[in-house]
């Protein structure tokens, strides 16, 4: 289902109503699809609730964003390469079950139950995805995988405006769980934690939500809003465009990495009280967009081109506006080859009685250097920094997809490392 994603100007016209939304998911983008949709208003249909688990790529990356998102970073407790393989096999099985659904085993009530029960006796997923990635520390001396470390993968450095908290950064392994409801992501997290007591140790976690489901709020159509009140995601590349995703998101190697993607997670607090005391004109200048419509300043529609060529001096859109620094070219994802998949977060109050809320920023790209790092370096020193404070997150590499019923997460890596695919034992 496509309604959660920003989309191109050509496509948005056919997405005016809920009925159109359902139809759009099934249609290719482009003029032909548009013509068909206009000629024949489709009947309302339920978008598919199950997101396929298998594929060249893991789900949860170039997948429309549902309402709830959660990331949890873990340290590995396994000690051998064999145990590592078993952990990946286990994660594969849990992810497959959780995303595709079914009935957890029923046990004698004198035993602890097999499942937390928070989704009821039967698991009926609603667009649940489980995306597994690994951090630079995964490739340290423990498993002798150093030579297979993705060439650009390092521990996330400290950027000038950052105030990183060690206990909210990095990790050997990261789970990104997304679904229509927060209880589904929590259910999946608890299931995986229950199955990995001696192999994964939780390091930090952050939950978030995408404000994309207030259909009436995001009118006419387009991206949902972040907690600063601005539409966020508008200029994202089109995830339905496979060629574009191949250019921007998916790695084609070296070796085992093909089909995977570099992932950046940033926990960024927003100083919302201060923001709410900032004149609207200044807010808009900081982003370079109008708050209400999401349109570039001086234009009228959310998906209008910012047309920087007409404005070389920054009279209309300041040269240090967020969107202009992030992508000075103005054309979608050209100077900023990454896709953003951010959620908002809200965590209670700070010691000084302010709200602790902000952005659970997630982005994917096939080069950290050309993607996140290049964009962040241009953003360093931007006026928005007065209102935001990055405090956690990390760099990770999202593993390639699981291809076939006998494949497991990370199998291309394990094979290249010479970790044999021993049949795992069955408990009698």
């Amino acid at each position: 289902m496509d309604r959660d994603q920003p989309r191109s100007p050509a496509r948005r016209h056919l997405l005016a109503g809920a009925a159109g939304l359902a139809a759009a998911a099934a249609l290719p983008s482009g003029g032909q699809a548009q013509a068909q949709a206009q000629a024949q208003p489709p009947a309302p249909a339920e978008a598919p609730l199950l997101i396929p688990f298998e594929g060249v790529h893991q789900a949860g990356i170039a997948t429309p964003q549902p309402y709830a998102g959660l990331v949890a970073a873990f340290d590995l407790l396994v000690e051998s390469r064999g145990e590592l393989r078993e952990l990946f096999a286990l994660l594969t099985d849990r992810a497959r079950f959780l995303t595709q659904g079914g009935r957890p085993p029923e046990l004698d009530p004198r035993f602890p139950p097999a499942d937390s029960g928070i989704l009821g006796p039967e698991i009926k997923p609603e667009r649940l995805t489980v995306t597994v990635s690994v951090g630079a520390s995964f490739f340290d001396e423990r498993f002798g995988l150093g030579r297979l470390c993705p060439p650009e993968l390092v521990a996330m450095p400290d950027f000038p405006n950052d105030a990183l908290e060690a206990e909210r950064c990095h990790g050997d392994l990261l789970l990104q769980l997304c679904a229509e409801t927060p209880e589904e992501t929590l259910h999946a997290l608890r299931d995986i934690i229950k199955h990995t007591p001696d192999t994964l140790s939780l390091r930090w976690k952050q939950e978030g939500f995408a404000s994309t489901h207030g259909q009436r709020r995001s009118k006419p159509i387009g991206a949902g809003r972040n907690l600063l009140g601005f539409k966020d995601g508008t200029a994202n590349p089109d995830i339905a465009d496979a060629a574009e995703m191949a250019r921007i998101v998916w790695c084609d190697g070296p070796g085992w990495m093909a089909g995977g993607s570099y992932q950046v997670v940033r926990l960024i607090r927003n100083y919302v009280e201060r923001w709410d005391r900032t004149p609207l004109g200044e807010q808009q200048a900081i982003f370079g967009r109008q708050r209400d419509s999401g349109a570039p300043l001086g234009r009228s529609d959310e998906f209008d081109d910012p047309a920087y060529a007409d404005d070389p001096g920054g009279a209309r859109i300041p040269l240090d506006a967020h969107i202009r620094l992030a992508n000075p070219d103005g054309r979608r994802g050209l100077a900023s080859p990454l896709i953003r998949r951010a959620f908002n977060y809200s965590n209670g109050a700070t010691l000084s009685g302010q709200l602790d809320m902000g952005l659970l920023f997630i982005c994917y790209q096939n080069s950290l250097r050309d993607g996140f790092v290049a964009v962040q370096q241009r953003l360093n020193g931007e006026p928005l920094e007065e209102y935001i404070k990055p405090f956690g997150g990390g760099y990770f590499f999202a593993l390639p997809g699981v291809q076939g019923p006998d494949a497991i997460l990370g199998d291309t890596l394990l094979r290249e490392a010479g970790i044999s695919a021993l049949p795992t034992q069955k408990e009698g």
């Binding site: 595709q100 009935r103 085993p105 046990l107 007591p197 408990e427």
Partner: protein, 279 residues
Amino acid sequence: MSDFRFLSRALPAALLIAGALLAGPLAAKVAPGDLVAPIADYKIWVTQETQALRDKTQGFVDAIKAGDLARAKALYAPARVHYERIEPIAELFSDLDKSIDVRADDFEKKEADPAFSGFHRLEYGLFAKNSTEGLGPIADRLIADIRELEGRIKTLTVPPEKVVGGAAALIEEVAKTKISGEEDRYSRTDLWDFHANVEGARKIHELLRPLTTREAPKLVKRIDANFAKVDKLLESYAAPGGGFVSYEKVTQKHRNAMRGPVNALAEDLSKLRGTLGLD
């Protein structure tokens, strides 16, 4: 059913927690009479531990009242361990448990709360304030509470499900506050308590071993293996004169490493009640 297939295909022995879920017996075969002996043995052990608790605490209290700071500090952890070993039973008396073992976190005013009492209040005075001053009445109350506890335990009919469930409860304590270093924050003697909880859980596991081995031999093997892992980590922090070094000396890496066997023990020990057919 598809989920069964996935579970059983991939679950390795070393990771096999879920395996026991699947392999869990549908009806337990342990007759109620089988539990009489282990429960009686447990009661004897608890009684001995309670006596040791009383004697050692008396020495601790005497040192405080004599104003002997160094001696009081040295006797703090060795007295407490006897309480930590029998926690599943001691906790049955929630009024005493609170006044003996409460932590400052449980009070809104933290250490400043006048109701803050017991071992940790004394620990706070001795280690954080570095003084025995004003601790006399708190020490008197502690030993009185412990004598009261001893009396109540004497007349207690030990509920089997509390004993069997106690093994898991002790390890849950470790998982919750011992690994994080929240328990003995002024004295940093957390490893003494950690070890005492583990000993308490192991005692129960050993007493039940003949029964559990019959019902779930693989579960028992896994529990043994994880106890051994915990022992090994704890041994590396043993102090030359007995007991353990300060928790500050435990590396973050080892704190993390301890979570593995501890969480696995918590999962596995949580199945003892079901394995023995106790409600």
